[in-house]
């Protein structure tokens, strides 16, 4: 029996190309990540603090959008062809969406990186949340729009494959992997409407000067309408691998196919009407809407908690089949030398911890404690940065042989790599959580302020920063090793059987799942109704209060050197005529001025 590349050579090329783009983005994004980690902790400063935000924007866009989503489209293409056991309907359509996504991602990346070169009149230092009225170059928004439209075409491609398959298999259950792909894409179609409206109707015309003003709260709310479901868009490929691949890697079988379907349906229903939980501290949105968003968010814990049980039970099944005994001793019977298994298992463990800090984020009023502090990036480096990214890297060790017909260059190096990632993230994210509790903000280039120090009860700020820097370095090393292993794998010769690619049947099969679970139209309709219920009133009130186009003119980031100088000068002035406190603050302001505009 041949592996994927032999059965679907055309699809394998698309998947390889998608992975290649994903890994290039991973490499660049990780490089910027370590530069930031060392800069903001003051260990190594090779950039200006002004350029920190250029790198931060690139880090967010390249890792959170380009790496994750290109890996997703590759994985989903593999899953659709594999589980329907047929080629995609028209490979030209497949290449078309790949081309559109790549072009869009490249345009956005060029617009961002141009910010490093003052002689190029282009900048997009707006971070990956691009809150108006900070304004990026139009190319940034246009690139993002092309990228999103590309993902829509990819979804259409997979739904066309489903339609063809359904035509020939009118009575079969949708194969589990395909079911996961289709439900995820339904969620994506529903949720990207928000960001598409924001970018296409407001931000692009505004950045081109066609409209004068925007309503910042409206574009922000539309962003978060998309901004939370995108979290699940990152996570669903990891769930797909945990449900359908991890049990096999552990030597077991999926515990329950029907429950896996229930979980994905819950994500379709609940992923979108929760975005306002990112806006708990926003003025202009009534507390009642925030409470509704919190309730929905908390119930969104349910599918993840169910996943914890089902996936761990599937892994335990493998351990028991491999001779594991006892209440916990069975953990030792798992194939810990397999980087694909170990990486995913560690990713799942980290997700359990990230799940807890997510509960804090979701708790409406406790959000005051951690909102926009370093706690938040601490949280999402555990979730998207490990649960998702490490699962994707671990999955690559098992997928790449199927896609290329080549064995992985080195298993031990792969094992070292996934463990290094986990250890690096333990240091970095734990320290970030602690720093956040002290009030250290996220998204800032400087470790210290002039007016105050951060107070610690346990440890010290210096120790926290050292852990962040150490963690960042380990994570970067891990990526370098990963990319080396992948490149070396690509350079190998083909062999007959590069990997055992069989996926055994679930213990509890799809025949036990209620038929209604496969009724995708029904779930789509309910999801839309829930979104309408959750968002109509808040959006109506935002538009009524602030107007559809609002009254905020543009603040382009490309010319923002002037305000920097102004700000520094005002600090100087304020220090000069003030009470004769200290000369130091004047000196500090001068230092800050020179540093900032250097």
């Amino acid at each position: 029996m041949a592996t994927f590349v032999d059965r679907f050579p055309e699809e394998a090329k698309v998947v390889q190309a998608s992975f290649a783009v994903a890994f290039i983005a991973l490499g660049i994004g990780a490089l910027f990540g370590v530069v930031q980690a060392l800069h903001r902790t003051d260990f190594l400063r090779i950039i200006d603090s002004v350029d920190y935000y250029t790198l931060l924007t690139a880090h967010g866009v390249l890792l959170a959008l380009v790496f994750t989503i290109f890996f997703l489209v590759g994985l989903f293409t593999w899953a659709v062809a594999r589980s329907f056991d047929r080629p995609l309907p028209d490979i030209r359509l497949t290449w078309a969406w790949f081309g559109l996504m790549t072009t869009g991602a490249t345009l956005a990346a060029v617009a961002i990186l141009a910010g490093l070169f003052p002689e190029i009149p282009m900048s997009a230092d707006v971070l990956y949340t691009f809150y108006a009225p900070l304004q990026a170059h139009p190319i940034f928004y246009i690139g993002l729009a092309m990228f999103i439209i590309g993902t829509w075409m990819a979804g259409a491609d997979w739904f066309l494959a489903y339609r063809e398959w359904r035509g020939e298999n009118p009575d079969d259950r949708i194969p589990l992997q395909a079911f996961m792909v289709l439900t995820t894409m339904i969620m994506w179609f529903v949720s990207t409407i928000g960001v598409a409206v924001s970018v296409v109707f407001f931000l692009i015309p505004w950045s081109l000067g066609l409209i004068e003003t925007v309503n910042p709260l409206l574009t922000r709310t539309l962003f978060w309408y998309f901004g939370h479901p995108v979290v699940y868009f990152w996570l669903m490929p990891a769930y797909l691998l945990w449900y359908t691949v991890l049990p096999k890697l552990a030597g077991g079988r999926l515990f329950s196919d029907p429950l896996a379907r229930v979980v994905f349906v819950l994500f379709v229903l609940l992923s979108t009407p929760v975005g306002i939980h990112h806006q708990y501290l926003d003025p202009g949105i009534a507390e009642g809407f925030k409470f509704i968003a919190m309730t929905n968010t908390m119930f969104l814990l349910l599918p993840s908690l169910l996943t914890a049980f089902t996936v761990v039970a599937s892994v335990e099944h493998g351990a028991r089949q491999r001779g594991g005994e006892g209440y916990l001793r069975w953990l030792g019977a798992l194939p810990w030398r397999d980087p694909a298994f170990t990486g995913m298992a560690l990713a799942g463990l980290m997700f359990a911890a990230g799940g807890f800090s997510g509960m804090i984020n979701a708790g409406m009023n406790i959000n005051y404690l951690i909102h926009n502090t370093l706690w938040v990036p601490g949280h999402f480096h555990m979730t998207v940065g490990t649960a998702v990214a490490l699962t994707m890297m671990a999955g690559t060790y098992w997928l790449l042989p199927q896609l290329t017909g080549k064995t992985v260059y080195s298993r031990p190096i792969g094992l070292l790599q996934v463990v290094l990632w986990f250890v690096g993230m333990v240091f970095m994210s734990n320290a970030m959580h602690r720093g956040g509790l002290l009030g250290i903000p996220r998204r800032t280039a400087e470790p210290q302020y002039q007016n105050f120090d951060f107070a610690t009860a346990v440890g010290s700020v210096g120790e926290i920063q050292a852990q962040i820097a150490l963690g960042g370095v380990l994570l970067f090393l891990s990526v370098v090793i990963f990319l080396f292993n992948v490149a070396a794998t690509w350079a190998q010769d083909r062999v007959d059987t590069p990997v055992d690619d069989r996926i055994p049947e679930p213990l509890s099969s799809s025949s036990g799942a209620p038929l209604v679970l496969d009724n995708l139209a029904l779930w789509t309709a309910i999801a839309v109704v829930l979104v309408v219920l959750a968002y109509t009133l808040p959006l109506a009130s935002i538009v009524t209060d602030g107007g559809l186009l609002g009254n905020s003119p543009a603040f382009p980031v490309s010319i923002s050197v002037q305000p920097v100088v102004d700000a520094a000068l005002s600090t100087l002035e304020s220090a000069a005529p003030g009470v004769p406190i200290d000369v130091h603050s004047t000196d500090a302001a001068v230092d800050r001025l020179t540093e900032v505009i250097r």
Binding site: K248, Q321, L334, G363, Y368, D500, E505
Partner: protein, 93 residues
């Protein structure tokens, strides 16, 4: 027990043989198998017994997630009542 699961029993391979079982492909290229018999994706080659649906109670899972639940409960109470409500300048209006 669904019938299709029965067809799966063939891929259970004893660890001693290290070879293919049933209808599947060979588990691994012999040359690439290291001393401990591990290759990527070969977790099922270490299977020493087959446990079917009716024979499996995930008691280890229950223990693990119970521990998790306990940790989460304690941490939540600490974070909410000590770190948050014990903090300064809480917003009351």
């Amino acid at each position: 027990m669904p019938a299709d699961a029965e067809t799966d029993t063939g891929d259970v391979v004893s660890s001693s043989s290290g070879g293919p079982g049933g209808d599947g492909p060979p588990v691994a290229d012999r040359d690439s198998v290291d001393d401990d018999g591990y290759v990527i994706g070969s977790g099922r080659s270490g299977i020493v017994r087959r446990i079917d649906h009716d024979d499996f109670d995930p008691v280890g899972t229950l223990v693990l997630i119970a521990i998790y639940m306990a940790i989460v409960g304690v941490m939540w109470v600490f974070m909410y009542f000590v770190e948050f409500l014990g903090g300064d300048l809480t917003v009351i209006g």
